[in-house]
Symmetry: C2
């Protein structure tokens, strides 16, 4: 990259034209090199903008792993999740879900009918199905429902050097490697250490001597807003989720929490004000019609005031 070369800038229309060209030319190599060169969020924008038949071609060109990476970024509340999964061959869809972080796979599965959830669970590797089934049992909007079991845990009785080796081997599957949780033989959380601490400390130091025992954790049944506030207040990148016996079950990461804070702000206010922050790009008629219930309420409130005022006027004129 030379000094004059521009930074990464994403233009959806431009990207769509480029991607459509390679799809129409059935040029798998070109498609892959163009598409995978975009950031995952931008890959998702392209995917969502394509027509069903164009997306169906993509399922032949991308591995379940590549598709899973992109689906991690697609918000679970995108309405067409079910339609996207139905476009895929069932085995491909199941394998893609199995390759996602369990918390995100669960968010998607929750949009589907029960029969379809069980179909995918039957088709995916047993380990992945087990993790997902465990998460599906937690109530909506609790820590359990938004946590992922893909974290890195180690035991205290080892050196920084051996902990780094473990981290290196677990890194590809963990949602974050920036916090490493220290557990005892019963999987009870006894400490936490950041990757930063591992890096600055001498390789011969013992984990037990440098870990922090001041562990802020959340209970698996705690509400997601409490989790959000803890992560925000303490400036954490992730928080561990434990059961009543302090057994480590999962982690919740800061990117999931930003979504919660966003949702929370919207749900706290949009009902009240009759507006929706997401509406900016909508056409004015749709936007106006959303405000209608609120305006009608105001009208009736006004009529109430009017009645009250006329009675009061009657009282004076009497």
């Amino acid at each position: 990259m030379s000094v004059l070369e521009p930074q990464y800038e994403f233009e959806l229309d431009e990207a769509l034209a480029k991607i459509r060209e390679s799809l129409q030319g059935e040029d798998m190599e070109k498609f892959r090199s163009d598409f995978l060169d975009y950031h995952l969020y931008d890959q998702a924008q392209i995917y969502l903008a394509l027509a069903p038949e164009e997306r169906i071609a993509m399922y032949n060109y991308l591995s379940v792993n590549e598709m899973a990476d992109m689906f991690e970024i697609i918000e679970e509340d995108v309405e067409s999740i079910e339609a996207y999964l139905l476009e895929m061959n069932n085995q491909y869809a199941a394998d893609m879900l199995a390759n996602m972080y369990a918390d995100n796979a669960v968010d998607m599965l929750k949009q589907l009918k029960d029969e379809r959830i069980w179909l995918y669970l039957r088709l995916m590797p047993i380990e992945a199905a087990k993790e997902i089934r465990a998460l599906l049992n937690y109530e909506d909007e609790t820590a359990g429902a938004i946590m992922t079991p893909e974290f890195v845990s180690i035991v205290a009785n080892q050196t920084v050097r051996s902990a780094m080796a473990i981290l290196k081997s677990k890194a590809p599957d963990a949602e974050t490697i920036y916090y490493i949780y220290v557990v005892n033989v019963d999987n009870v959380l006894v400490g936490v250490i950041s990757l930063r601490d591992l890096i600055v400390n001498d390789e011969d130091m013992m984990i037990g001597d440098i870990m922090s025992e001041r562990i802020v954790s959340v209970n698996v049944n705690e509400g997601q807003e409490d989790v959000a506030h803890k992560i925000r207040d303490y400036d954490f990148l992730a928080v561990p989720v434990v059961d009543e016996n302090n057994v480590l079950l999962g982690i919740i990461t800061v990117d999931d929490i930003i979504d919660v804070i966003d949702e929370e702000a919207v749900s706290d206010f949009s009902g009240l004000a009759g507006v929706d922050v997401e509406e900016q790009s909508e056409n004015p008629f749709v936007a106006a019609s959303k405000r209608l219930p609120w305006l009608i309420t105001l009208l009736f409130l006004g009529m109430g005031t009017s009645t009250w005022i006329s009675q009061y006027e009657g009282l004076i004129s009497d």
Copy 2:
């Protein structure tokens, strides 16, 4: 920590009693071991709850560095920032500010009168004053105003092993070490690599071969809400800030961005709805008086409707 020992739980009243005891006993050792054992956010809660004379004792017991770590967590909009700084000896205050990440120090300085800002800048080490002065020049709510210059940058032409050595030496001063920015000799941003990538790759790999050139950055004059959306959409932990020539100036981290998203939600809605999310703990009269302007508006709207309805009634009865 045994299985039966409870997790870290913070109770402000309990902590205050403990801390007050050691302050009254002038027991510096006990104070330090009790106080520094709390998380920074909880240290800040204690500090904010103490009386001025109690805080003044603390400035003798804690180093400027320890005080700076705690002040990183105190929101810049806490009203009494000026009072806290005035309680300190000027040199102590200046050194504390110099020990904070520059973005947070600037947030605090902006609450002060100009003379006081210049006083602190004169008293602090030249390098720190220079960094802070540069940030003070950016307009409020732009990327420049919320970025920090404390990032880790390296050149491409070296191995993972040597990059890790640099990281290790720079880690104590960097706000995040989880992204390492790759620059050329002119300090132009040419790539980015995550600590995760450094860890999973072989130590002999060249940085230039494994770094990503798809750099999502923000311009130093961009608004903070755009920055917030980029970090949220791409699930980043930090985003680099550049000038028109793509020269790397600073970074903005996800914890700062959570505050922006919070503020944004409040400012977008609270004016409209006549409520304030922060008010939950206020007494009901204060809360009610905040809703008053909105209720009065509704009353007048109602009177308008009433007039309009009576005219219409007049029309019918005519």
